[in-house]
């Protein structure tokens, strides 16, 4: 049991001293997941809104596909993206493999179904009185659509935060696409996997604590938003 308490002590030292390697993994994680979040929100919110707001043929089937993609395994996403961006793949010339943008692209594919699905659910769940109310107040077409999205804003934020939680905690994509390169593509999760394998519990625990803090922050924000929505 001694090595666990020693690990916690070492973790405390690393965090208090802002040790460079630990900080690098944290910054890489936040940087990569922020990139993927930005992209997935740009793609996911309009797509999710359209899926929830409009009625069109095969809407149910599209919804079923999106909902299935929620359970997409991270290693499968990593594998697919690897196939496309490796030197032998069709986008090999873009040299995205083992880069932070490469990880961000794969993470975007991983979390965009979450944003689409939760946004669509939020829009579908809007109060049935909203549309006639907006109509009665004189809003038309795009004004009704935009106001409807604004009414769903807290639920859309919940979608974004849930997606962020998934992005920062995934390991498969970061490992396969990023290659876990120190100072470059090593994220919190890949570092924990590596350091645990090496028996360096101090750093693994330190990074685990940071990851847990981030998760608490995400869940805390979710709780506040759920109350408001």
């Amino acid at each position: 049991m001694g090595y666990i308490s020693e690990g916690f002590l070492r973790a405390f030292e690393l965090l208090v001293s802002l040790e460079a390697e630990t900080c690098s993994a944290i910054i890489t994680t936040i940087s990569v997941s922020s990139m993927s979040m930005a992209a997935s929100l740009v793609i996911g919110i309009p797509t999710g809104f359209a899926l929830g707001y409009f009625t069109f043929p095969a809407k149910r089937q599209v919804r079923a596909v999106v909902d299935t993609l929620l359970a997409l395994p991270t290693v499968v996403v990593g594998l697919i993206v690897y196939a496309f961006i490796s030197n032998r793949g069709p986008y090999g010339n873009l040299e995205l493999l083992y880069t932070q943008p490469g990880i961000a692209i794969a993470q975007t594919l991983l979390v965009v179904p979450i944003v689409i699905s939760l946004t669509a659910t939020a829009v579908e769940g809007l109060d049935r009185r909203l549309k006639p109310t907006l109509h009665a107040l004189g809003a038309r077409g795009a004004q009704i659509a935009l106001t409807s999205l604004m009414e769903a804003r807290y639920a859309v934020l919940i979608a974004a935060i849930t997606a962020y939680g998934r992005a920062i905690s995934e390991v498969g994509v970061s490992m396969i696409i990023g290659g876990n390169i120190k100072w470059h593509t090593r994220t919190i999760t890949t570092a924990i996997a590596l350091e645990t394998g090496k028996g360096e519990f101090g750093m693994a625990i330190a990074l685990g604590i940071v990851l847990l803090l981030l998760a608490f922050l995400v869940n805390g924000s979710l709780a506040v938003l759920r109350k408001r929505s």
Partner: protein
């Protein structure tokens, strides 16, 4: 000679909800600047009719002329002249100010916005200083209803449609809502169309009350509707039975399935059971309430006969002379020939 067309002229309107419900109105009109009340049981079609008149719903068939012109849900210029307050109003997840200002903003009218909002809130008895910045969730039911009404009044619509505006508000809010809509009609000439179960409240706004029952608009005034079934008893007379078992006799309807209508002014109230009268119908009832019919000098007397409400009208002088009071047992008398058919 050209006469001004009605504001609404509805012809051959049919609206169906699946197999179960059908609104069927062959002919219906509303004059500009008038106040029309709609009464009737739940599920009778009041809300559907209001939504059609507000251009929120589109009927399956029929024609609606607005100001003499054919119009539809898509016609924004016309439908923006009409604003409807739903039975359970929805407030946007924004401040009171943003809720009230929304309609003007979507019309691109942003001048004097603060002043307009302040005035609209004042009309419904809400202090702008106190309420303007409040979020939607910090309002009571009555306050929310009044904020929603202010959001419509600020638009100065040509037609204001209210669906059960007092259904879930306290007495004070009901009074303020009444004052606000009467003021809107007086000041801006707004046409009011109001559905309500609160007959006293509705009567204090208008005496033009129409009954909506099973998808039909019955009568153009406050009539007592005797649904039937009507069974022939000979000599051209038919009989129906009220819920408490008392019979009502009428000259038979021209077509089967028609409803009997008794004008409240055709009902005579007697404190003693009248004997040897030419009138066929003598119904025992209990006085439930008395209310003034605006300032017409007429008193609306609501009677109950085993759960069936009968409305009679007497002069204020008669009500005073007879010393009519709620709870009193009386006799309602009317002729078989006074029952009209729709």
């Amino acid at each position: 000679m050209s006469s001004k067309p009605p504001l609404y002229q509805v012809t051959g309107l049919v609206f169906r909800y699946g197999e179960r419900f059908e609104l069927n109105i062959p002919d219906f009109s509303i004059e500009p600047g008038s106040a029309v009340g709609l009464i009737g049981p739940n599920g009778g079609g009041k809300t559907t009719l209001l939504r059609i008149l507000a251009f929120i719903e589109r009927p399956q068939s029929g024609e609606i002329l607005f100001d003499g012109e054919r119009t539809s849900v898509e016609d924004a210029s016309v439908s923006r002249s009409v604003s409807m307050l739903l039975q359970e109003p929805y407030l946007l997840k924004r401040s009171v100010f943003e809720n009230v200002a929304y309609g003007l903003k979507v019309r691109g009218k942003r001048k004097r916005l603060e002043q307009e909002v302040e005035e609209a809130l004042g009309t419904v008895g809400l202090d702008s200083q106190d309420f303007s910045r409040r979020p939607w969730y910090e309002l009571s039911g009555g306050e929310a209803q009044r904020v929603a009404l202010a959001a419509r009044l600020i638009l100065r619509p040509r037609v204001l449609i209210l669906d059960e505006p007092t259904a879930s508000v306290d007495e004070k809010s009901a009074l303020l809502i009444k004052d606000a809509v009467i003021e809107s009609r007086r000041k801006d000439g707004t046409t009011l169309i109001i559905a309500s179960h609160d007959h006293v409240w509705l009567n204090s706004i208008t005496s033009d009350i129409r009954r909506v029952y099973r998808g039909r608009v019955l009568g153009t005034a406050v009539h007592n509707v005797i649904i039937g079934p009507w069974a022939e008893i000979g000599e051209g007379l038919c009989r129906a039975t009220l819920p408490d078992g008392q019979p009502v006799t009428a000259t038979c309807p021209p077509l089967p399935g028609m409803h009997g209508m008794v004008d409240p002014t055709d009902i005579v109230i007697s404190l003693d059971r009248p004997a040897m009268m030419s009138a066929h119908n003598t119904i025992q009832a209990t006085v439930m309430s008395l209310e003034m019919n605006g300032d017409t000098g007429i008193v609306n007397v609501s009677l109950d006969t085993g759960g069936f409400r009968v409305l009679a009208r007497v002069t204020r002088h008669t009500a005073r002379e007879m010393n009519l009071l709620p709870g009193e047992k009386v006799w309602a008398v009317f002729k078989a020939s006074s029952i009209k058919w729709e």
